[in-house]
Amino acid sequence: MDRVDDEVLVQRVASGDERALSELYDRYAGLIYGSGMRYLGDRETAEELVQDVFTSVWKNASGFDSTRASFATWVYRITRNRATDLIRRRKARVRTVDGEPLFEPGETDPSGALSRNFDVAVALSRLTPLHREVLVLAYFHGFSQREISDRTATPLGTVKSRTTAALRALRETMRFDEDRWSADE
């Protein structure tokens, strides 16, 4: 599938496009699963978080309004709410048995780190393929600049300058999204 914006994919999901849902899964499941492991602490619950988020995306795609929020913001909220719900249920049952105070809802993302991660993920998805490649190989696969040069048959100097250009483009995209959605939160 050609690289299309998340917002376009959500529109296709609203029309029942299963391939669009599959593409969104490929783009965001890793981040949602990783967030689940970080905030919920176990694999089974993290898997459940992934299931819940994409079920919600499928059911509510027709209600997504791209003029009011980016897809990253929308799926972040779904993820945060579902994770909070899972945490609250766990603590609520403890209270039922032991009478201990409830865990306060809304503390799943006190530092905003989860929100920022979704913003960076969508900015990364908007880079050109060459820019995205050097960053993904370096940050997500742990390759050195020389290893990237060898793997992509690109001169080392070009890899270095392309990496700089990619980080610059990422920063510009993040800044554009911050300005665009600054009134949303």
């Binding site: 039922t96 250009a165 610059r168």
Partner: protein
């Protein structure tokens, strides 16, 4: 943007800490006297930090999770296209109550509390289902609609569980015939809504221990 292309092109690997020592010294020496390059290095450093944090927060889900997630969603969608009366008739014919009573759906009253979409496991890849929980005064009713379950063999039945970690509480049992479908309402403990997950296992009359043969599972969400 910096007017020094040679140094500018190295600022990315510089903030990532991947330059050779001699290159790094050259960049640092340049930055001491060039405000524009310092400013750009700062901006690129921010992008680097955000990307590094994203990378550390991203995990690789199990390979089969995508199939389970998407299959669960799409089967649920397909089952909605089956007229409700067909499912109810099939359930009325095929469900044999273990306790000697016949359960019929009765959600005419009460407050909707929670629901769950059920995803299949490898034991029942074609299965799916939904659980809805409704409070009726002091009691809680759990309605289970499921499809695609293997028909029960002799001395076999299915059981609906409320689950948290290794702990589970039974919400009731049922059998399934050739249709593979069930639509029943069971009574649940009054703290049922506090459990985060529900599951369906295949059980055997001759084995008193709770089975680990998980057929369906899902997370409960408050409504």
């Amino acid at each position: 943007m910096s007017e020094h292309p040679e140094t500018r092109d190295l600022l990315g690997p510089y903030v990532m800490g991947t330059l050779e020592p001699c290159e790094e010294r050259e960049v640092e020496h340049h930055l001491e006297s060039c405000a524009s390059c310092r400013e750009e290095a700062q901006e690129l450093g921010l992008a680097h930090e955000r990307l590094a944090d994203l990378a550390s927060s991203t995990g690789a889900p199990p390979e089969d999770l995508k199939v389970r997630v998407l299959a669960g969603i799409l089967r649920r969608e397909a089952s909605r296209r089956v007229p409700t009366w067909v499912a109810m008739v099939a359930a009325a014919i095929c469900v044999l109550a273990v306790l000697g009573a016949i359960f019929t759906p009765d959600l005419s009253g009460g407050r909707a509390m929670a629901s769950a979409n059920l995803s299949p496991t490898g034991r029942a890849p074609g299965a799916g289902g939904e659980v809805s929980m409704r409070g009726t005064g002091e009691n809680i009713e759990m309605r289970l609609e499921a499809w695609g379950l293997p028909p029960c063999k002799s001395e076999q039945y299915y059981e609906l569980w409320l689950v948290e970690g290794d702990e589970r509480v039974s919400a009731g049992s049922f059998t399934v015939g050739q249709s593979g479908r069930v639509d029943i309402t069971l009574s649940a403990p009054n703290f049922a809504a506090s459990y985060p997950r529900v599951g369906v296992t295949a059980e055997y009359d001759k084995d008193p221990r709770a089975s680990d043969a998980k057929m369906l599972w899902g997370g409960l969400h408050e409504l």
